[in-house]
Symmetry: C2
Subunit: 267 residues, 2 copies
């Protein structure tokens, strides 16, 4: 059973090259960024580069898990489970290895899974020191379809409860045979993983901090808005307040509007 | 000048195969999903697959734009501008075409850019009809570095003001030479693009809607929470209310905690 104190190996692929103080390879931190992300982005290549040189990204729902089959003694390694309709493009891919890798035998389709949280804008004096507070995890691994019913059910309950805890038991279960058939589960066996986290105040350059005249004109702080310690502007400027109000109003209006719309009829 | 009423061509790569009623190829809708996303996910391949078969995803900031140089009569096509530190992995890639494409001449590095908004959970009776309201855009195109100073400044102002409108003019500008040098801008020339939008109420199956006994036990609706029209449960169950409160409390606590932390010293 993998210990949660473990870390992922540093590889040339996964090593963070810039701002290394923001990097972590810690299992627990990386899994927590993935499991709390509202959506995961999954990248994979076409089966052939001949007509199509582009990797593709699909937004998908999923989370980390560690399945132990009823007979087994050992818990398996932590993997990422993704779900989607059985007929979707990605669910079909694992049975068609990409032609550019035909000559090697791989344990699955090479994919990248990214989970990103933007925790706030960080507004410094100059745009060049602007930033975001964020938590970002990037995982590389081999994707394959989960066919075994026990593991598939485990993964679907896990993904449902990761969206909203206790939801599985509080909804109409067990699934019908048709429901199980129409839903595909992909398991990503993790090969390497890293995360980058920025979680602190505004970073201004010393020349800007020494420029008191400029500092009386430029508001610095966070998008909430929380004023930075070094701020010399007394009140939150209108353009910042308006932007936040606009964003919130628009989101609320959109949310109200769409939840009142009828879903297409299901059989 | 491209008209905003234009649509992107349907290609095998960009065509939405499942739930086609959710698909759009409309320029304006796709650009608006990209420009309002708090973060973009960008996927590209390693320069060689020999030691590394994985595509990579990086979260980046950027937006769409259409630059017209001072002498030009025509506005150029809409592209995606991305920014990052000049020393970052992705900023270096455009000068090293991937070896798997060595035999063809391409106008840049093949990338995929994804923008995703999760607008709410949609809780149906059975987990298999659960969904999210979302707006998702996926763009394929060729990435190259922007070297021309006029276009680079245009892009940086655009990205800054896309994060927070009017911020460029309200901050300490113009940038110093060192600031311009340390920041890289990538332009993605769009080859194909599509978006998928789910924006409506709960979709339940008829057998579930006919099952009144079950319907008195299972709460359906939206994560805000907004009760679905067909709901037979009187009040929002505790596990749903707790989940929302937990999420909000945690986000607020984290946000307060991190903005009080000091940034590392900048020169």
């Amino acid at each position: 059973m993998p210990s949660e104190a473990e870390v992922y190996a540093h590889t040339p692929r996964s090593s963070v090259n810039r701002l290394k103080q923001r990097a972590t390879y810690d299992h627990e931190k990386i899994h927590s960024i993935i499991d709390s992300a509202p959506v995961l982005h999954v990248s994979f290549n076409p089966t052939s580069f001949e007509d199509d040189p582009f990797p593709t990204i699909l937004p998908m729902l999923g989370c980390t898990g560690s399945f132990t089959s009823s007979g087994a003694q050992e818990k398996s390694a932590v993997v990422i489970y993704l779900h989607g309709h059985s007929a979707s493009r990605f669910m079909k891919i694992p049975s068609q290895p990409p032609s550019y890798l035909e000559e090697v035998t791989l344990p699955g389709i090479p994919v990248c899974v990214a989970a990103t949280h933007i925790d706030g804008l960080v507004l410094a004096y100059t745009p060049f020191n602007h930033s975001c507070n964020y938590r970002s995890a990037v995982v590389h691994g081999y994707a394959s379809a989960v066919e075994e019913p026990e593991e598939k059910t485990y993964a679907l309950q896990l993904i449902t409860d990761n969206m909203l805890s206790e939801r599985w038991d509080n909804s109409r279960v067990p699934p019908t045979e048709a429901e199980m058939k129409s839903t595909g589960v992909i398991r990503v066996d993790i090969v390497s993983a890293s995360a980058k986290i920025r979680a602190y105040g505004v970073g201004n350059g010393q020349p800007d901090l020494d420029n008191e005249q400029m500092r009386k004109g430029v508001w610095t702080g966070y998008g909430e808005p929380v004023s930075a310690e070094e701020n010399l502007v007394g009140t939150v400027p209108t353009y910042i307040g308006d932007w936040i109000k606009g964003h919130n109003d628009e989101a609320e209006k959109y949310s109200k509007q769409i939840t009142s719309l009828k879903a297409p009829k299901k059989s």
